[in-house]
Symmetry: C2
Subunit: 204 residues, 2 copies
């Protein structure tokens, strides 16, 4: 059962008591997702924190001319959520599926995947009744923040070639699994330019 993988993941961050483990099991919803299936679409309210048990997702926006821009990839043992949409709800509206800010993002499976989702009401229940989860999710959010800040820094201060090299170093596994078009979108360049960079690096 995949819920055990989520409990193991939490245990590695901060050991859970049996009661805390049971609380996780009681709110974890397992889902199998097909390749190209969406778990969030622009305009929807994001009501789940999603933990990836296996597989790979991309979170992206689509601009005015229909071009996709990858904001984040997610693979095993990582979380994906549109935090802006997820956290924009007042406590009184937690149960209302139409409350909050519509998401500006899509989350789509790049591979067949297994995920565990926790609904907002349930996550808030964990935070209120088991303080340890505040510490765990503080650390998860800090790590995601660091990753996002590195991306911003790279985007504003490095060349495309440097960004691609950094991507290979940081995500050696992802660079094998993802099609070039996805990597190019993440780096903010065209697939053709990525090909040129790969040839340049290969000939060095």
């Amino acid at each position: 059962m995949s819920t055990q993988k989520l409990i193991t993941y939490f245990n590695n961050l901060l050991p859970l008591s049996d009661e805390e483990g049971d609380a996780v099991a009681s709110v974890a919803m397992e889902r199998k997702i097909k390749r190209r299936q969406f778990i969030l679409q622009e305009g929807d309210r994001c009501r789940h924190y999603t933990f990836i048990v296996s597989g790979c997702f991309k979170m992206y926006s689509v601009d005015a001319v229909g071009k996709e821009h990858n904001v984040q990839f997610g693979t095993e043992n990582e979380w994906l959520t549109d935090m802006a949409s997820f956290h924009s709800v007042k406590p009184a509206d937690f149960k209302n599926p139409n409350a909050g800010i519509p998401s500006k993002l899509f989350i789509e499976a790049i591979e067949p995947s297994v995920i565990i989702q926790i609904e907002r009401t349930d996550l808030v229940f964990l935070f209120e009744h088991y303080p340890k989860f505040n510490r765990i999710f503080r650390v998860i959010t800090e790590n995601n923040f660091i990753e996002l800040q590195n991306r911003v820094l790279q985007n504003i201060s490095t060349t495309a070639e440097q960004r691609y090299s950094a991507f290979l170093m940081q995500y050696p596994d992802l660079s094998q699994r993802l099609p070039n078009t996805q990597i190019a979108s993440f780096l903010g360049i065209t697939p053709e330019f990525l090909s040129t960079i790969r040839k340049t690096i290969g000939s060095k």
Copy 2:
């Protein structure tokens, strides 16, 4: 005394007990900062979480050709820290000022400012002894994450004019306080191009 402003700030997020308030007071270090003074320089280890009581700061990187790129502004009731550098230290090294990853960022005062700093060891002490601070800092980090993600989204999917309009909406106060060169750097455009945009918007 400025520490009371920090305690009031925390109380607004989640009411503190007297004991928790005393704990904050015992670790809060107040500092007066002059305009153009740095509280972090590239290559330093970031050892403080900084709360801004009054004034205004910019956090930026400098690229290979010496150009500044603003990552974040901070004003009253906001936090500034290079999280990548701050959190890269193992618990055994918390007291060692040379442990961890050197920062890639500068944090510099744009106005004369008053700040309250909490050192890493002290913040960890709060997290371990008063669980409520995990919840408070989880929410602070989530809010900073949302702001950063909005920035990434705007950078990859909107025009400079749209970004400037969004900046005016989101930071009406900041746009009055900051010189145009700083705003242009934040938007990723030249000051000349910002002038053109302002004229276009003014004539609409």
